[in-house]
Symmetry: C2
Subunit: 766 residues, 2 copies
């Protein structure tokens, strides 16, 4: 049992670590040499140039800040980060980032009043009992502040009941407000946006194959017939996976060549390399010559592949980006079903060009459902069999466990400070390291599922990760830890008793989660602002590779908010806060500190560092909302389980109403606000269309959209030279068809609008 003293030592340790990191950051960020590590966003914006180019008056000043005054207020970045108003921040970093920050703000809004109320009402109520002392249970001072200290059957539980209601209503109120605000922000953002290719474009997948017409012709005919007057142009999708591989390989080779050339310049001795396995086996050759010839070879291959892709009809995927004359036309095409077979001609809003995940564009429908099943089963196993290592970590983190496993360490461990250190630091840290690898695996799983945009991939991965965290970190920590402590008593119980079992274990686990919040939350956030990895990588590259300004530009890695692993982790704090709000209010201040610190740090990072890869317009908010609601319901069920053992008969029915009401609230919110994140209302697009048409009468939309949705491989290589220049012309509404005769292809009568086509054909023939 950890005591208040243990917690205090842990807190002190974490505060010291966090403050050390923050100090280090404050020092490092003032050095001009680190400017590109801590302010890359401004370089990308073009408002900041390398100090080198500003003229080297003092050689040292290029690398080290000699202005002593600037060191004095080393926390000045914090108010600076908070200064920028939201509208400017949206302009600066996009809506996604601003709404991401709102998650932390929502946390503060929810938990500040809850903390105050809990400390005003529940803490005194819990403290003024002596149940634990009378029962002579092993307990710590923390337990004296928790619900455990209330005697069996006491009427005081009514206060906890009422508080559960108050907390639920407050949380729901804030959630609704936030949903409202975010929805409004999104709509305003979409309305104020400049012309963007994805506003006019729809992604069409599963185009059926046709023996008479190519994919391109088929798409054109289909949309000319079924969306007459709205269709503008389309861009077929090529299978460029091989080509992209070659380009990637060439780039690597170029990197090696640069490396060896640099080496040669410095040492004036021609470097050699081995041709075999990763340069470790095979015969020695001159490295520069070797890589030069390799690059030439790959370049040739690439050109061949390029030609092949353009010519071979098999390399055209059954998918296309179809653009329309107006936003209205695109909105209609994206929201409607095209044919009676719902598995072909699937239309959806085209993601932003930057957001497209090209590799998945060609997966057919049947394969998609099978892939989803496979990933479902795989994720199930990953989720439930990962518990074993966590249990192992938990056992180690237990002082008594270590003493039993390694008895010779006992005298060492029993030193009070060491013991506190182990109990206050190790469990969280071990878990943390353990979890670092996971998001990448989950991302691979989502990619295999076949989603077509980076944003949807991130959202899907975030859901998986949250489920994982819930079962393995939250429930896993409670049940496994308790199972070790309480000797397997309830491993053989049934599903009905689970809320009770976990509920009862919840107060016991408070100290563990406090240390977890400190290590993962406080220290983790402080590490985030330090950007250790980017710092090291930049200086390594800067030292070894950078020759020109452009190289330095490339060595800079602004990174981005990785929604798929950071958002679920925030959700874990929501879960902890809501679960412990009634049970052990002492946890709440720790969570508040986390939310406040993280808010400032991420705001700073978003302003100065991160460069988002795409802009989804806060499409992830419904997921955030859903997960907080889930956390709320879990907290209610666990409280129900806990109180059912406390001898208050009236509690169960009174608490059962809460999850029902919460689920209903969620349904209401989903119905009321979610459409704003999924669909595109016609009134809005019509207004934009009308305004734009009035302003710019002769805008050439076709030229504007020409190569918006060309695969980046084509773009980077030969500047859009290869896009298919099909020009049906605005006037040619009568569609020439290549079909030879009706009789040869009778099966085709049900596809691509042939009804009208043939009608027109016959009209034509007369």
């Amino acid at each position: 049992m950890a005591t208040i003293y243990d917690i205090a030592v842990g807190a002190a340790l974490n505060v010291v670590t966090a403050v050390a990191f923050l100090l280090l950051f404050a020092l490092l960020r003032l050095q001009p040499v680190n400017d590109r590590v801590y302010f890359p966003k401004w370089y990308l914006k073009g408002t900041r140039a390398s100090p080198a180019s500003a003229g080297a008056t003092v050689a040292a000043a290029k690398y080290i800040n000699l202005d002593m005054r600037s060191y004095l207020n080393f926390l000045s970045w914090m108010p600076a980060a908070l200064k920028m108003p939201d509208d400017e921040l949206i302009q600066h970093a996009g809506l996604d980032s601003v709404v991401y920050l709102r998650i932390y703000r929502t946390g503060l809004k929810i938990f500040v009043p809850i903390t105050i109320l809990a400390f005003a009402v529940l803490v005194p109520l819990n403290w003024t009992n002596d149940t634990l002392e009378t029962l002579k249970v092993v307990h710590s001072d923390i337990d004296k502040l928790s619900i455990s200290n209330i005697p069996y059957g006491s009427k005081r539980f009514i206060a906890h009941l009422v508080m559960a209601y108050v907390f639920t209503f407050w949380t729901c109120y804030i959630l609704m407000k936030e949903y409202q605000i975010v929805a409004k922000m999104r709509l305003r953002f979409l309305a104020s946006e400049k012309r963007r290719p994805d506003q006019f474009t729809v992604l069409v997948r599963n185009i059926p194959s046709d023996p008479d017409e190519s994919v391109s012709e088929l798409v054109e005919h289909f949309f000319l017939v079924n969306h007459p007057g709205h269709y503008l142009k389309h861009q077929v999708v090529y299978n460029t996976n091989k080509l992209a591989g070659l380009v990637e390989k060439k780039k690597q080779m170029q990197n090696w060549l640069d490396y060896y050339q640099l080496k040669f310049e410095r040492k004036a001795e021609r470097p050699t390399t081995k041709t075999g396995f990763f340069g470790c086996s095979g015969s020695d050759v001159d490295a520069i010559d070797y890589y030069k010839s390799e690059i030439e070879k790959i370049g040739k291959e690439e050109a061949d592949e390029h030609k092949k892709v353009m010519k071979d009809p098999k390399s055209i995927m059954p998918a296309a980006f179809v653009s329309f004359r107006s936003r209205w036309g695109a909105a209609v095409a994206a929201q409607t079903q095209q044919t009676s077979n719902p598995t072909v001609w699937l239309t959806e809003w085209a993601p932003e060009p930057r957001d497209v995940y090209w590799n998945n564009l060609s997966i057919p429908f049947v394969s998609l459902t099978v892939r989803r099943l496979i990933i479902g089963v795989a994720f199930f196993f990953l989720n439930f069999f990962y518990v074993i290592p966590i249990a192992f970590v938990q056992t180690l983190a237990n002082v008594e466990g270590i003493e039993k496993a390694l008895p010779f360490l006992e005298p060492f461990i029993e030193t009070p400070t060491i013991k506190s250190f182990i109990q206050g630091f190790l469990p969280g840290l071990a878990l943390k390291i353990f979890l670092i690898l996971l998001p990448t695996i989950l991302m691979f799983m989502s990619q295999f599922e076949g989603l077509v945009s980076h944003s949807s991939l991130e959202r899907r991965t975030a859901s998986k990760y949250f489920i994982f965290l819930f079962f393995n970190v939250f429930l896993g920590s409670i049940v496994t830890g308790s199972a070790l402590e309480q000797l397997n008593t309830y491993l053989h119980q049934s599903a009905n008793d689970i809320p009770r079992i976990i509920g009862v274990a919840i107060p016991i686990k408070a100290t563990f989660f406090i240390t977890y919040v400190m290590v993962d939350g406080w220290t983790g956030v402080a590490l985030e602002v330090l950007r250790l990895k980017a710092f090291i990588m930049f200086h390594l590259k800067n030292f070894f590779l950078v020759k020109t300004e452009k190289d330095r530009e490339e060595a800079m890695d602004p990174g981005s908010i990785c929604l798929y692993w950071s958002e679920p982790r925030i959700q874990l704090y929501f879960l902890l806060g809501l679960v412990y709000a009634v049970v052990t209010p002492l946890l709440l201040p720790f969570i508040l500190v986390f939310f406040a610190l993280a808010y400032v740090v991420y705001r700073h990072q978003i302003i100065n560092v991160y460069n988002q890869r795409y802009e989804s317009g806060a499409q992830f908010w419904p997921n955030v909302h859903l997960r907080i609601i889930t956390a709320l319901i879990v907290s209610q069920l666990l409280l129900l389980g806990l109180l059912s053992t406390k001898g208050l008969e009236e509690a169960t029915p009174a608490l059962l109403a809460l999850p029902v009401l919460t689920i209903w609230f969620h349904k209401y919110c989903k119905h009321r606000y979610e459409p704003a994140f999924v669909r595109n209302p016609l009134q809005e697009v019509m207004r934009k269309d009308t305004l734009e048409r009035a302003r710019e009468r002769n805008f050439d939309l076709k030229a504007y959209l020409a190569d918006a949705y060309l695969h980046p491989v084509f773009k980077s290589n030969e500047a859009g030279k290869f896009y298919v220049a099909d020009d049906p012309g605005a006037e040619a509404v009568i569609v020439p068809t290549k079909r030879q005769s009706r009789r040869i292809t009778p099966v085709q009568s049900e596809d691509g609008g042939s009804g009208r086509l043939n009608l027109m054909e016959s009209v034509h023939k007369r």
Copy 2:
């Protein structure tokens, strides 16, 4: 414990009853006097006239069939019912009826091979054991055929496991095939349909209020701006609930007047009535004069109300039927979101005019979610507290229970035939009577929820009814009955054990369900064909009221398939069949007989009797599919529970895969086929539009749609005189607005397309 003998007596009784009903039907239907009871459909079609009007050559022949030959083959209606081909049947009775019959056919398709396989494999396997005899358990011969006869831990259970897989795959295969066929039928039906108002019309609900414009103007402006070139006309919805009430009251009074006038004609003595409570209190008055004056009074009231409704803007509801120039326009409007606020301007496909449930058209959005919550909670209580009376019925139906409660009946009950009668007939009959009232209550609940079409009301009620039947008839019969028999042993167990508890009770309950199938299924269906209620009502009316041919027409009540109470009952048979297929295959033949008999009877009724009130195009099929899938999963879980007690460790994981696969299969089917029942593909509507435009160039769609969506009250009264004749004209695309100034109503800038309106205004002013 019921023995084979009990079952045989029960079966004999039921067969005799059913055959008696069928014989009676065969006799009655041949009498010309009953022609309008048993063949009303043909009268409505106009292909059959009253025998009276055909010339009364033989007076008696008008009422009684004297042709002796026709009595000889009294079952001739059965092959006749089967003769009509499906396409003709669709023409004759609509797609809904034909697809309804497919449910029975699906039952036959699923259960015929399953029965054969179960009898070939499982029955011999179960029979060739003597577990029950060795254990000296009280058992009947039926149990010897069931899974109970296999010894603990026997390898024979593997056969049951394999059969569970085979049955699941077969059921899924048939379900997929049927879904495919029904979807194709629906698409062909929709494609072949003639022009219908609902193809061009969209129901718009929650039109926001506007201080400057009336609802009618607002609708016109909104759709002219946001669907330019497609909007044609609209029809506002009036609050006619009071008016409809008056019309109804007047009709009742007219009925009474007719009754007293007839009485007067016969008795030549002026009848009197009392003015008070239902003619039971108050002073005596002359009945004919009284009703005449009453009718006059109500007629005046009605006319006043009529005027008020037409003039008062408050009686115009914020809902409208908006019609478009083409099916394409309507399809687009129905499938897209109109404004950024998803709670206003809600569009959906207009139901058929006949299908509209007028009373619910005006319920606002917030009220809808609250209503849904209320009904959810109310249904929960109805569902779970209805169990009590069922338990009571079950206790009574138990011979031992009756003997205990009423000991003086013992000698009477112990007579073997009486005992068999009680055990074979009473439980089913009591349950049956008990359930008759329920569907009406559930329908009221659905109406309160605010659905706007009869078809969706029926579907929603069917879902509720199925849930009720599942919990109360199926689970209630098993758990309560068993609880009485097995002395409360597992009432205090947990949720995890429920599949085990029920699974174990399943074989014991087989005899109960066999009697249930016989009473509810066999005799019930035979009663259905007899149409006892319609028969009595028609002859009563015919005797007392009918004077003219038109009266006789009105006395005729063809009725319709009440999907909301008949479909869930069929589903109960699917559930029983699937659950008992592996456990007690003896139940299967009884279910087969039911499906076959019901198929023939309902086919006959659909051809000769029923007249559907509306046509939804088989929109209920996804629900049918979902419920069979549910039954399948329930059967798998119960088998899992049962086998977990049988000492075969390998069974659990092997069976766990089944529900996962089944759920995945359901998801696949939903994704693949459901859109055909919900959305309207653009390709199809475009094809129809194009064909029609080519055929009838100058069709006046506006006149055609003029009063299609007028409330029936207006229509019946003054033949559509009252519909609002707003004629924006095809040319007037520039919308005159009534707004006084932008400055007065700044709040309005976000509604009804004012963006474009004001743009046009300003263009206009120049």
